[in-house]
């Protein structure tokens, strides 16, 4: 068994303009992953500008100085690659995986949109992508049962002014209200080499990558001063909160959520193991007690997981959907009881073993591809300043003891800190 969770070499450098470059070679397959993390997420958005970081994720595919609109997608897919980008509260990432002979193409494309987006950003593109984002909001959040749960949980978990209070998809009114110039300024602030990490994993030599990074990114100007994300205090933000929503849903569903610890801390590792014990798999507490035992929850709906956020106590979310004839109140009480019992009685060694084994496999699945590795390296470089720390997460999970799980459970799963979100089918409420 590998002692580290990351048995591949890692080399790093930093260009004069501040761009951090990470390379992790693995020549077994002729495939290379290019990944950039920009240290900008919805946590940076001031009031009135929510949804900006995410809209940018779209605009970055719409052309830059030397790359006409839609060319980015055409060149990556048309050379055999896969690509995408995502935005979350903490950051925005961009990534492509290509046959290795196209590494230089990917670096050229990424440099062009890092350094050359603003002159190419026009009103027509902005308007078009605002429409696309509105459709994304409809498709992912509004037109599906329970689709807006995350949008509802965040303001219950984090107070106004806290960087995690508002969701990444943002407000359509904010997006509509902003002028082109505001978006151009947003890019100038955050899409600078000294606010990014570039990682290349797979079939490439570090020296070659460093030289290419210098060639394509080395002449990009460093950014100016950037407004820091608000810190956000949770002081005096306590007390159980609950919210009941009547909606077009096919059955009652209950979410319990708690603020826990920031991603990257030993406590969060313990919390991740705890979440697996609580709600991952048929051997989990929620499955055994609510789906199988009491038959209150629909079996394939029980789950518990931590949301990996690093700049404030990250949420743990447990949820279940009621079986026919079971009320939300009964399900909610039972869900809370399972959590409370875990706090009161701790966990067994067998539960710990099961959870660690599942997490071990999950880890190796994550690093089985060069794209999975590249994203983790960018993550650790961005969040903690050291990509090599990626190797510590698996050992961190392995080191979690039953006592450590019990301790974090007692500290952060108290009923008085609980957020409860309940969906009731419309007709049941009427």
């Amino acid at each position: 068994m590998s002692e580290t969770g990351y048995p591949w070499p890692i080399e790093t450098t930093r260009l004069a303009n501040g761009l951090r470059v990470v390379v992790s070679p693995d020549r077994t397959a002729p495939v290379v992953a290019v990944n950039l993390w920009y240290d900008v997420g919805s946590r940076h958005e001031p009031e009135g500008q929510t949804g900006f970081a995410h809209l940018f994720e779209h605009l970055m595919f719409e052309g830059s100085v030397n790359v006409p609109k839609t060319e980015h997608m055409r060149l990556v897919q048309g050379n055999g690659g896969s690509l995408n980008a995502t935005t979350n509260p903490d950051r925005t990432n961009y990534f492509e995986t290509l046959p290795a002979e196209h590494l230089e193409l990917a670096l050229w494309l990424e440099a062009d949109r890092m350094g050359g987006l603003v002159p190419a950003l026009v009103q027509e593109t902005l308007d078009n992508q605002r429409d696309v984002v509105k459709n994304e909001r409809r498709q992912r959040y509004e037109n599906v049962p329970y689709g807006d749960a995350w949008l509802r949980l965040l303001p219950l978990l984090y107070p106004e002014g806290h960087p995690y209070h508002h969701p990444t998809i943002g407000s359509m009114a904010d997006l509509n209200a902003a002028e082109l110039g505001t978006f151009q300024a947003f890019h100038r602030s955050y899409y600078a080499p000294d606010n990014a990490v570039l990682t290349v994993a797979g079939d490439a030599e570090p020296a070659e990558v460093f030289a290419l990074a210098e060639k394509y990114f080395g002449k990009l100007a460093a950014g100016g001063a950037r407004p820091a994300a608000p810190i956000g205090s949770l002081d005096s933000w306590a007390g159980p909160v609950s919210s009941v929503v009547a909606a077009e849903v096919p059955a009652p569903r209950v979410y319990l959520a708690h603020r826990t610890y920031p991603y990257g801390t030993p406590e969060y590792d313990a919390l991740t193991v705890l979440a697996t014990i609580l709600g991952q798999g048929r051997g989990s507490r929620l499955y055994r007690l609510l789906a199988d035992g009491a038959r209150l929850a629909q079996p394939d709906t029980v789950s518990a997981y931590g949301v990996d956020l690093a700049y404030a106590p990250a949420p743990l979310i447990a949820s279940a959907t009621a079986r026919p004839g079971v009320t939300a109140a009964r399900l909610g009480a039972a869900l809370a009881e399972v959590v409370d019992d875990l706090v009161a009685g701790g966990v067994t060694d067998a539960e710990l073993t099961r959870a660690k084994a599942l997490l071990e496999t999950e880890w190796w699945i994550g690093v089985a591809t060069v794209d999975g590795r590249a994203d983790l390296l960018s993550r650790y470089a961005t969040l903690f300043g050291d990509p090599a720390r990626v190797g510590t997460r698996l050992p961190g999970w392995r080191a979690v003891t039953a006592d450590a799980v019990a301790e974090v459970a007692r500290a952060v799963l108290r009923p008085e800190d609980r957020v409860t979100l309940v969906y009731e089918p419309m007709e049941a409420v009427a």
């Binding site: 839609t70 230089e104 459709n135 037109n143």
Partner: protein
């Protein structure tokens, strides 16, 4: 001062394409098909049985899925809870999957745990307890699970399309997993009978991982223990029945902020000689991000978050489907544009720049998309289900790269059917019906399903 490099770089020299060595081994009456991935910590084993949805008879659709769930309700050796803990303590769940052509049970673990995981996999698949009370409960849960799933946009539209294309009297004219009603109507005997009929054959064990650390014969013996007979042959492909006229069916979803589009027609089966040009044509039309459909409806008009077209092809039948969610208010113009692009592609074929994207994309995905043991297990399953040779992926790559504009245009002309396509729209009927009728794309009917 920022300086960008204007010149797009040329590609380097590609390394030759190589699919891992495929090892085939006859063991204990079954076959092991394996791919070697040296150095990988993870290994995957998947037992593939010729027991997919296509083996179900009409009236019991969904029985394979219910059986799949019931396999985890305890074995002759241990209770459901003990089974779950034993398997998950090795680091894996039992991933059960039913498609039209096959049933598969898959485990994925650090390589040292593979023998124990395959033992447990075989225990559930070959020696399940299948207690009638458990089977009844699982059936009820599955019916409820489908009811919850059908509350999402999509499943109802897809069921309506499928019934319209193939007719409700054949199995593949009904949903793969059945519907809430068909599943609720299953009996314990239906479930036990399906296990008796289709789970007695040895099937094929797919194994992917570092083979220097894996004893394939031992895994095969564990997976095939107790298997008896060979499965019956699957049967010939069904004839492709093409419609001559277009129709619009609205599946009412009052209050919906989007209309869910499922546009489709019948197509040849997976082993048709036009497979490569036909699927490349679908990429030009609606597969790549810069495809005709996505470019027009998303990037130019802003009607949708995304629209795609693809062929769904199995051993005995196939269909062509366009899927999208569009804003309610633009449902009619979006539909006109989508049908227009399908018709244009059928009539005029594809261009070289578009085809270049499609062929390089698919060829590249044979490397980029095949990295993990799980992905390779999927590739091996394709070989087994469609009876393809070990060098299939390398050959496929060559035929993709050599497909010409003429071949692909001939395939789009032959296999796209814009005048006989069925246009299913799941949305707010009251808001969209008149607009859709005014498009003259076809007669409009409304169904509540």
């Amino acid at each position: 001062m920022t300086q960008l490099i204007a010149q797009r770089p040329e590609p380097g020299t590609p390394r030759p394409y190589r699919f891992p060595t495929v090892v085939r081994r006859d063991v204990a009456g079954g076959q092991v098909v394996a791919a070697d991935l040296p150095g990988h910590n993870l290994a995957v084993a998947s037992l593939l049985l010729d027991a997919g949805g296509g083996r179900e008879t009409t009236g019991v659709e969904g029985v394979a899925e219910v059986l799949a769930k019931a396999l985890e309700e305890g074995t002759t050796a241990r209770s459901a809870a003990d089974y779950a803990v034993a398997l998950e303590s090795l680091g894996t769940d039992l991933s059960l999957s039913v498609d039209w052509d096959s049933f598969s049970a898959t485990v994925q673990v650090p390589v040292a745990a593979l023998p124990a995981a395959v033992e447990l996999l075989a225990e559930a698949v070959r020696r399940p307890k299948l207690d009638p009370a458990d089977v009844t409960r699982v059936r009820d849960d599955e019916a409820e699970s489908l009811r919850l799933y059908w509350a999402n946009p999509g499943p109802r539209a897809d069921a309506v399309l499928r019934a319209d294309l193939f007719g409700g009297e054949v199995r593949h004219g009904r949903p793969l997993s059945g519907d809430p009603r068909s599943v609720a109507g299953l009996s314990v005997d239906d479930v036990l009978g399906f296990h008796r009929s289709w789970f007695a054959a040895p099937g094929t064990l797919l194994v992917v991982g570092d083979l220097s650390r894996i004893d394939l014969d031992a895994l095969g013996r564990a997976a095939f223990a107790g298997a008896t007979e060979a499965a019956a042959l699957a049967g010939e492909p069904f004839p492709v029945g093409a419609r001559a006229s277009r129709r619009i069916v609205i599946v009412d979803r009052p209050g919906s902020v989007q209309s869910t589009l499922r546009l489709g027609h019948t197509a040849p089966h997976r082993s048709h000689p036009d497979y490569v040009p036909m699927t490349l044509g679908a990429i030009v039309l609606g597969g790549a991000f810069t495809s005709r459909l996505n470019h027009l409806l998303r990037e130019v008009k802003g009607y949708t978050y995304g629209i795609r077209s693809e062929y769904g092809l199995s051993r005995r039948f196939g269909r062509f489907v366009v899927s999208a969610g569009v804003q309610t208010a633009v449902t009619a113009p979006a539909l006109v544009d989508a049908v227009g692009e399908i018709a244009r592609t059928q009539a005029e074929g594809v261009t070289e720049p578009e085809l270049a994207v499609a062929r390089d994309w698919r060829a590249g995905q044979l490397s980029v998309g095949l990295q993990s043991p799980r992905a390779y297990a999927g590739a091996l399953a394709t070989l087994v289900v469609h009876d393809l040779p070990d060098d299939y992926h390398a050959r496929l790559r060559e035929s993709l790269l050599h497909a010409t504009v003429e071949e692909v245009s001939a395939a789009t002309a032959a296999h796209l059917n814009p005048t006989g396509i069925t246009l299913v729209i799941e949305g707010d009927a009251e808001k969209i019906q008149n607009d859709l009728a005014a498009t003259d794309l076809g007669e409009v009917t409304v169904t509540a399903v």
